[in-house]
Symmetry: C2
Subunit: 314 residues, 2 copies
């Protein structure tokens, strides 16, 4: 394999944000359309969203079949790919099918492939990153990444039902070492044993993280932290083509915005929620990164302003 | 029956807001508790919420078994009950059971009783009311009420799946004569044929009303109108005891706030959404009106301020 960084850029600056997660090829079926082996994975969606705001370094693994065109798509977003390993074998693959009600989806098949033996090893320039997003991978791998970063200012971890069920010990260990945990509605209930989402978030805070981000898909998100609750309704999207990656893009936009500003104040968190909401809205409008790749600073600002006007309470 | 208005108040002022809907006795079972024959019905919840803001006249019917204590509860809220008829027979009754997930409920039994022959007749002082809320009753009855009000400034109608299915002609007629229609998620989809709620609201606007209020329960509400979309997340309630009446209280608070101010501007609509959200939050914290009856202006303002702080976008 050729080196990731062309010789004309001898020393790219270190990333402000490091993101670890899956990099894969998704085959997705909705009631209206389908796509085959499209670039996806939690690290891809989160990094793509963050790339508009902060220098972002990806940590992940792909197989030898990973397409040069997909790598170029990531490079065109300005991502630092020095942490993206290539291993012998095939890239991670996921097949998913959505109901007509896109809140329901089922997994047809997951092929871990090279991911089965992934051992994250961070390039030296990543190790001083002040902001870290541990995307949805096994909690033990999330810990392995965290152990390689010297003194991060803010760490957010995502998780999923499978880890809550199968590796609760590892997950509890992660929760004690992160500032924010991101969960969706069912994960919040599962992790806390509470049906009510606000009660669930309050209980999860007692497990370690100072902040709990509850992602509710089309109903938006809320963040519970030491300063109370911040509520962020979703950006209205009239034609949702594929919700895959919306939560990751939300998290990536959120962390990218914080990493860009560098401060973790209530005002910064509030703005980061608006950014996350808008980045997720681009993701759901097309399969893979297709709509997000066509976004730019002006399009993002337009949606942020529109969202603020719609949400401003009276 | 004795007259509704004691002789010591010879001429109460006319109501600013007239509300028609059901008045009944609800028996409700949740995963955690139950109540038997508690005061309920769409007109009761809406009027109770509106009563904190504007002089509100109730239009409805009860049987001879309607308890004097329940009537006194309504009077203590300052409601104008001159439009509440008493007819021979039994009061409307509803039995409902909620799942542990309170978004799902099933009706065990509905007894129309005196409601089966209800013909709304508005007292003279109601007929010049500038604001009208047509709560959830048969569209033909909603039209009958509307026909008796001379030149209302703003009319909102609620509806339900049953009328969409069984009396679509009557409902379409109502839609052509109201300014705002309030629907929940399933009603929005059913009425429009659109799965996406924003697309559904847009389509419903073409059926007549200039504004569509979509109520999403624990996920809040949004209002689509000529000025665009206003999004109002729900007030966080950690212990929801009984969601019955939350949508009616939302609508009542919303209309009460507008009736109090008298103007229908974007700023007034925005504030009315905040009021509706807060009034619904009191309703879900206890069966029937028990929590709302203990609220006062200070408690309402406290929640409105807290909600504004939580929702303010960054």
């Amino acid at each position: 394999m050729s080196p990731r960084t062309p010789a004309s850029h001898p020393a790219p600056p270190p990333p402000r944000l490091v993101v670890v997660g899956s990099v894969g090829l998704d085959s997705i079926e909705t009631a209206e359309a389908r796509c085959e082996e499209a670039l996806g994975g939690s690290a891809v969606y989160a990094c793509a969203a963050a790339s508009f705001f902060a220098r972002t370094g990806m940590v992940g693994i792909v197989g030898e079949d990973f397409r040069a065109a997909d790598r170029r798509r990531l490079e065109r977003l300005g991502l630092d790919l020095r942490g993206l390993q290539t291993a012998p074998g095939r890239t991670f693959r996921w097949w998913g099918v959505y109901d007509r009600d896109m809140n329901n989806r089922s997994t047809r098949e997951t092929q871990l492939n090279v991911f089965a033996h992934f051992e994250p090893a961070l390039p030296a320039p990543y190790r001083a990153a002040p902001f870290v997003f541990l995307g949805n991978i096994a909690p033990a791998l999330q810990r392995m990444v965290l152990a390689q970063i010297s003194r991060p200012r803010l760490v957010m971890a995502d998780t999923m039902d499978m880890w809550i069920r199968e590796t609760p010990g590892d997950l509890n260990d992660v929760l004690r070492h992160v500032d924010i945990v991101a969960v969706n509605e069912s994960e919040a209930r599962h992790l806390s044993g509470e049906e009510n989402l606000f009660a669930a978030a309050r209980r999860i805070r007692r497990m370690g993280p100072s902040h709990v981000l509850v992602k509710k898909g089309e109903h938006g998100a809320f963040l519970l932290g030491p300063h109370g609750t911040m509520i962020a309704p979703a950006y209205p999207v009239e034609r949702v083509r594929d919700p895959t990656g919306a939560g990751d893009a939300f998290a990536g936009g959120f962390m990218g915005a914080l990493a860009a500003g560098g401060r973790v104040t209530p005002a910064a968190l509030r703005r980061a929620l608006t950014v996350g909401t808008v980045m997720a809205s681009f993701i759901v409008e097309a399969f893979s990164l297709r709509r997000l790749e066509r976004a730019d600073g002006a399009a993002i600002r337009t949606r942020m302003d529109a969202l603020r006007a719609m949400v401003r309470p009276g």
